[in-house]
Amino acid sequence: MAFGAFSSATPVAAEPAVRRRSPIALFLLLPGALYLSLFFLVPFVSLILTSFQAPREFGDIGQYDYAFKWENYVAVIQTYLPHILRSFGYAAIATVLALLFSYPLAYFIGVKLRRYPLWQALALTLVIAPFFISFLLRTLAWKQILSDEGPVVSALQALTVLPEGAHITGTPVAVIFGLTYNFIPFMTLPIYTSLERLDLRYVEAGGDLYASPATTFLRVTVPLSLPGIISGTLLTFIPASGDYINASRDFLGSTDTAMIGNVIEANFLQLQNYPAAAALSIVLMAVILVFVSVYVKRSGTEELL
């Protein structure tokens, strides 16, 4: 399954014993490496330089000169601290929700359906089915379903769970819901890959040693599926923290739910305040890199790709 590739736990068979040194390696690697340097590394440096730029004297809007204006960072953090915190808060909640949703589902597909390969494959197709329909349209579909005239609000109001005149769309609840929904496959697939290869004899051994099913689950099953949980968490948290579609006013959010991505987009594409957008991007990236390295180090998954 192609999407198994998202998981660091992809079954990579034992590497061939001998890796040769050869000029062919250079020939194979160089084009791709150069491409990534040119369109990933250089832009990153470009972004760092841009983040220190100062407005051109007597210049138009959108004209900046290279400088070392580190105050840009102070300014964006002061102005946009709520957005930054909100982004990581929403992304963290969405990641936990996606994990709670995905684990039982992945367990069902990976363990319970193990003896039925065809059903297992079809179940996996259902998990990735949302990928095949436009991200934006499926988010808009939720917007309609959760809208004030939609079935969910009317049902909740009939049950008096939701007070008259209350909304779901435009609230943090809707944004977190959208983030969770949209990134569920990224969580389910890596966990599935781990659980699919779970040796059930370990679970049986837990039972034989008089452990309760709950203890066996917590002390055997969960630790053995940890690599999947780790990749799933990273693959959900990273895109969720930078996403700005769910939080956008035209989708599930409102101006009160704007995340760091919305602010970067607005500063870059609308206000042409490139240094602010660049500084915010660097802040986002720095937090994510710290998160990734701590997470990966503590969980001991050295092999990243």
């Binding site: 390696a25 095949f132 808009l140 579609i245």
Partner: protein, 290 residues
Amino acid sequence: MSVQGGTAIAETAKATPPPGPRRPFRLGVGRWGLGVYAVMAFAFLLIPIVYTIVFSFNDVRRTNIVWRGFTLDNWLNVCDQQEVCQAFGNSILVAVVATVLATTLGTAMAIALVRYRFRFRSATTLLLFLPMATPEVVLGAGLAAQFLAAGIAKGILTIILAHTMFCISFVVVTVRARVASLDPALEEAGRDLYASPAQVFWRITFPLLLPGIIAAALLSFALSFDDFIITTFNSGAAVTFPKYVYTAAARGIPAQANVIASAVFLIAIIGVVIAQVAAGIRRKQLARNG
């Protein structure tokens, strides 16, 4: 190999009768609960998809929010909304070119990573990992800043350059797994039979890698076709399908957009299901013959 071995062991484990009295008493919930949950979870995942498809048949003029009755008009006249069709065409163009570029570059890198020893190995791995660990908004803004600094006008070309960049890593990861599972003895046999290196590659290595390469290409295509965030930073005036949907979201999406998304979805899902059923039939045949 190892996976099959594991399954075989699992089968035997299942075949042994459970030691009855020592097993704690289980409620029916444990037995059926998970299945019921899974069915509900699948239904939940499908809700917005079904919604999008249903509303592609809605009888509407401008906005597609309230159900007004069934019609095939939207499907029969997709290109009445010229912008939708044009955006769709752009998206296909971008996805095809980016997929070809990324698959070529990524496959070569994957082969090199598994097969050869070279310096800067960890640097290369990092260079491949980082784009996957970078939020799209940062990738998009970075490239846009670079195009701005270099004075390159944004358009279809810059979208293709951007998409190729983020697809490469996913291609490498997908193809790498396939290269690693390849038995080097097969290529050795080819060399022993006096095949030239080119013949060994095109007649042995490439056909064996093909399933992995196809999977990587499909993944690239899907990622590129549905990308919005990186595109919007690097597209200038050019409009792709997701970008069209985003701008139209404020004033209402024409039903034709639902038609295109539904058609893409149905084609993809039918293709995947046919492939899986075919693989299932082959598996059964192999099991019977073996």
